[in-house]
Subunit: 174 residues, 2 copies
DNA sequence: ACCTGAACACCGTTCAAGT
DNA sequence: ACCTGAACACCGTTCAAGT
């Protein structure tokens, strides 16, 4: 006689994401995830290959969320940058994980499609990919450094972000 | 009667850095480090508080190396960017760790001093910090995304880097 | 003063036995 | 068909005992 299913993959991933934001990747233990979904650790292996696969799922869910936010914005370069940064401030650990978990950053390609459209309008088809890379590299680096506490010399960080945005737009106008 | 010292902190950090490049942070186990320096794991705790402290030392040694490379370059913005990227290609795991290990990115401030000098010459004292942040954010983000495999849409990555460099310099000229 | 074996807590994972 | 207790391997860390 079959045992009723006591959890789902979606629940497991959601639990892992909560644990991630609570205490970083080290906080995602199979025991802690199992506790949150009301099951014993071995049961998790019915839905997920192993811990590494679960962490990849968490990273991919985060990329999905980022993509949805970008698509929901007005899709100007400036707004895309601000929305991206706002997401990272909301879910700093998730943001970090995307570029740390091997294999997760790869799915960023689709998520940043709106950036590619915005740069195409700005610099034309020919240079749109290079321009999108310049723009996403800057935004990603800025946020990573900000989250890592790498900006130690004072100054207004928000203003530095707006400065970067403005100068990038200047640089991209031919 | 005192036992002779069988290793040193420098040796331990060097061993940990080798293990890091060999297999990522997970490869830095106290057992593996102890094996490499010819000692038993408990002895490591005479030189290092715990594994986390060791990993921070590894990240800080990496930042020191980056700083030395930057200072040894011709210190133009373009060369600083290229030297920074070349270092990351040589020691990808070390580079990643600097922005992942909590507390390590903080020491980047001093290492990137040459960037601040270069931007000061370019945009003046007033805007030099914002400009340095724009520049280091772009370079750091580009390299992080490159190492993470985030550039999936083809195109010439080296050319994209040079494109970014050129447009940033344009954007920073007033 | 440093080094070590033994021990402990904790974690990921497997598997046979339950329903 | 999913769930679980028991077991195993592995890892970080402590500590008393050795020299």
């Amino acid at each position: 006689m079959p045992t009723p299913e006591r959890t789902t993959l979606a629940e497991i991933v959601a639990a892992a994401r909560e644990l991630l934001e609570l205490g970083g990747p080290a906080h995602i233990t199979m025991q802690a995830v199992a506790d949150r979904v009301g099951v014993r650790p071995p049961s998790l292996y019915k839905r997920v290959r192993d811990r590494e696969a679960l962490i990849l799922l968490v990273a991919e869910a985060t990329v999905e969320d980022i993509g949805a936010r970008l698509r929901a914005s007005d899709r100007t370069l400036a707004e895309l940058a601000r929305v991206y940064r706002a997401f990272a401030h909301e879910r700093p650990e998730g943001f970090r994980l995307v570029f740390a978990a091997s294999g997760a950053a790869e799915s960023m390609g689709r998520a940043v499609a709106p950036v590619l459209e915005a740069t195409r309008a700005l610099v034309g088809e020919e240079r749109s990919l290079d321009a999108a890379r310049l723009f996403t590299a800057w935004a990603t680096g800025f946020i990573s450094m900000e989250l890592a506490g790498a900006f130690r010399l004072g100054g207004d960080i928000d203003a530095a972000f707006e400065f970067g945005l403005e100068r990038l737009e200047v640089g991209l106008h031919t």
